[in-house]
């Protein structure tokens, strides 16, 4: 479908022809024998017809996209089209004059314009070529709008995928192990078993709830991590030690939901769980110079050759950061002796302080 054939755009396009029509009416009246009425009728008929004829430039323009066909082919295509279209126009112009004008005026016009037919033909060619240029601009605009729409669409798709991933994120291993701990506690320490049930319920509820939002306060994510680590502490006992260094100002900054949870889960699964003597997980955050930096650090088995099994989780976090902040964020992963460290840096977006 031609992009100009909508009511608004067509109106604008035809408006662009008005000066040309006005000029020709003026010329027809002052230089020839036509009265205003007949001059107007002729000019409007001839140029209206040509305006629509020039719209056909869209098709050769589409067929020869700029930059993808050779210049020679481009030139030939449009020149041939211009000559043909202009020829049709001049011939049709004669017919139109025949239709609109009274017989005696028609003869006068014929006498007046026959010698100038070549220049009229040339004007037709030039007008057509102008229309070609105009259509290329139009196509470029359409393309960029289309690309933009596609980008928006892919962003929406990415977000959908992300949400799905988040919902599926509760690790079954974690869930079954927690249930096993509860099952053990029911006889050893029923009060603790109940506490653990509540922790687990809170963790699940928060995971589901936070996953729905596009951004949450760091403090909300930290509350989730607190539940998660409390549950894992029941399982690992003294093997799991937790350190927190959270700067107060950073608590009210916004982050994508469940960004840190997979990192902490990795720290437990690939760090603490592989150490017979256990280790420490350290969560630190601070806000400085408009940047929020978050560090998750854990002890790991440096002797194990285990190739980064947390790779998938880390890649996911990286992708989410890039999707949301583009080049404004960074994620660094490094090991230092028996410490495994993930450092995130993102723009500090203040959120409403929690009630």
């Amino acid at each position: 479908m031609h992009p100009l054939l909508t009511r608004n755009r067509l109106g604008l396009y035809l408006l662009a022809w008005v000066p040309l029509v006005a000029t020709s009416i003026y010329v027809l009246v002052t230089r020839g024998t036509l009265g205003w009425l007949q001059a107007t009728a002729l000019a409007v008929a001839v140029f209206l017809f040509y305006a629509f004829l020039c719209l056909s430039a869209w098709y050769p323009c589409r067929a020869t996209p700029l930059g993808r066909v050779s210049f020679i082919r481009l030139l030939l295509t449009h020149l041939i089209a211009a000559v043909l279209i202009s020829f049709v126009w001049t011939q049709a112009g004669g017919a139109l004059a025949y239709a609109v004008l009274s017989p005696e005026k028609l003869d006068a016009i014929r006498v007046q314009f026959r010698p100038q037919l070549n220049s009229i033909f040339t004007i037709g060619v030039l007008l057509y070529l102008l229309s070609v240029a105009f259509h290329y601009v139009l196509i470029a605009m359409e393309d960029s709008r289309h690309a933009e729409a596609q980008a928006v669409e892919s962003r929406v798709l990415a977000r959908d995928a992300e949400l799905k991933a988040l919902k599926a994120q509760v690790n079954p291993h974690f869930l079954f192990n927690s249930l096993n701990s509860i099952s053990a506690l029911t006889s050893v320490d029923p009060a603790k078993a109940r506490e653990m049930c509540i922790l687990l319920a809170e963790f699940l509820r928060m995971t589901l709830g936070l996953g729905e939002k596009s951004a949450i306060l760091l403090s909300e994510e930290l509350a989730l991590l607190e539940r998660f680590l409390a549950i894992e502490k029941v399982r690992f006992g003294a093997r799991l030690r937790v350190e927190e260094a959270i700067q107060d100002e950073s608590r009210t900054l916004l982050i994508p939901p469940l960004l840190l949870q997979p990192l902490v889960e990795n720290a437990v699964m690939h760090g603490i769980a592989n150490l017979p003597g256990g280790g420490t997980i350290r969560v630190a955050s601070q806000c400085q110079d408009g940047r929020l930096s978050i560090t998750i650090e854990n002890t790991f088995d440096a002797e194990s050759t285990s190739t980064r099994r947390g790779g998938l989780g880390l890649a996911n976090v990286r992708r989410r950061l890039e999707g949301r902040y583009e080049k404004q964020s960074s994620m660094q992963v490094n090991t230092d002796g028996d410490r495994f460290r993930v450092q995130l840096s993102l723009p500090a977006e203040p959120g409403a302080s929690p009630k």
Partner: protein, 253 residues
């Protein structure tokens, strides 16, 4: 033989205290089962096994350093094992394939009783070879990351990246790493299946070499060649072995 009259001597191996507690509690109604020890990791388990010679083990699959499969490999297969696992689809598949009993956590009373009954009736029967279990339990496209070797009571873990080459010696393989050799009871073919074929090549009926260690290949005799390793070791290369080696080296170029 009256199996139920036989005293059962059991070990409980799990790195989580609460998980061990569940098994202990479920065993309380079984006075015929004596709990010899509880172990929090694979090393303790191997040690306790040598010390107490149990005939039944409750063995967690996921443990730090040594997995349940590693433990089984270390202690041999002359013991009834009931594996325990929370969620490990590959391990579960391995148990199904090799008809090994296992319990899913949280462990229910009924399922536990059934497993114990079966274990009693099977006391003295051999377990399937540990490396076969471990091979079935490996997720697809994953290869061994380390090898477990026992020298007497000492357990050594060799990361595969540090393995220079392996040499078949009857029912054993000698694993050469950093100038030392460790003997492991395994066939060289079984070892080969666990190693990443992009890094390790069977250059000879009796040799597997770490590709990273090969410096050059020299002709030797009519039809055979020698592979020279970074530390100067010379290993024989058969004709078929040379073809495999060459294919892999060409691929790397």
């Amino acid at each position: 033989m009256n199996a139920s009259a036989k005293k059962i001597r059991a070990l409980i191996v799990d790195d989580e205290e609460l998980a061990r507690h569940v098994v202990r509690e479920l065993l309380q109604s079984h006075p015929e089962v004596e709990i010899l020890a509880e172990c929090a990791n694979g090393f303790e388990a191997a040690k306790a096994f040598a010390e107490h010679q149990p005939n039944l083990m409750f063995l967690d699959v996921q443990m730090p350093k040594l997995t349940g499969f590693d433990v089984l490999e270390l202690i041999g297969t002359d013991v009834s094992v009931i594996f325990t696992t929370a969620y490990d689809q590959y391990a579960m598949r391995a148990f199904e394939v090799h008809a090994v009993d296992y319990l899913l956590k949280p462990i229910g009373r009924e399922r536990f009783e059934a497993a114990l009954e079966r274990a009693k009736s099977r006391l003295g029967a051999k377990m399937p070879p540990a490396h076969e279990l471990a091979a079935t339990a490996r997720p697809p496209q994953q290869f061994l990351e380390r090898l477990v070797v026992k020298d007497g009571t000492k357990v050594t873990l060799i990361p595969v990246t540090k393995l220079d080459y392996a040499e078949a010696q009857d029912d054993y393989v000698a694993l050469a790493t950093q100038g030392k050799k460790h003997l492991k009871q395994q066939t060289i073919s079984a070892l080969e299946t666990g190693l990443n074929p992009d890094c390790f090549v069977r250059i000879h009926r009796s040799y597997i070499v770490n590709l990273e260690r090969v410096v050059r290949i020299e002709p030797y005799g009519k039809d055979s060649r020698l592979a020279i390793l970074t530390d100067g070791t010379r290993l024989p290369v058969s004709r078929a072995g040379y073809a495999r080696l060459k294919a892999l080296l060409d691929e790397r170029k």
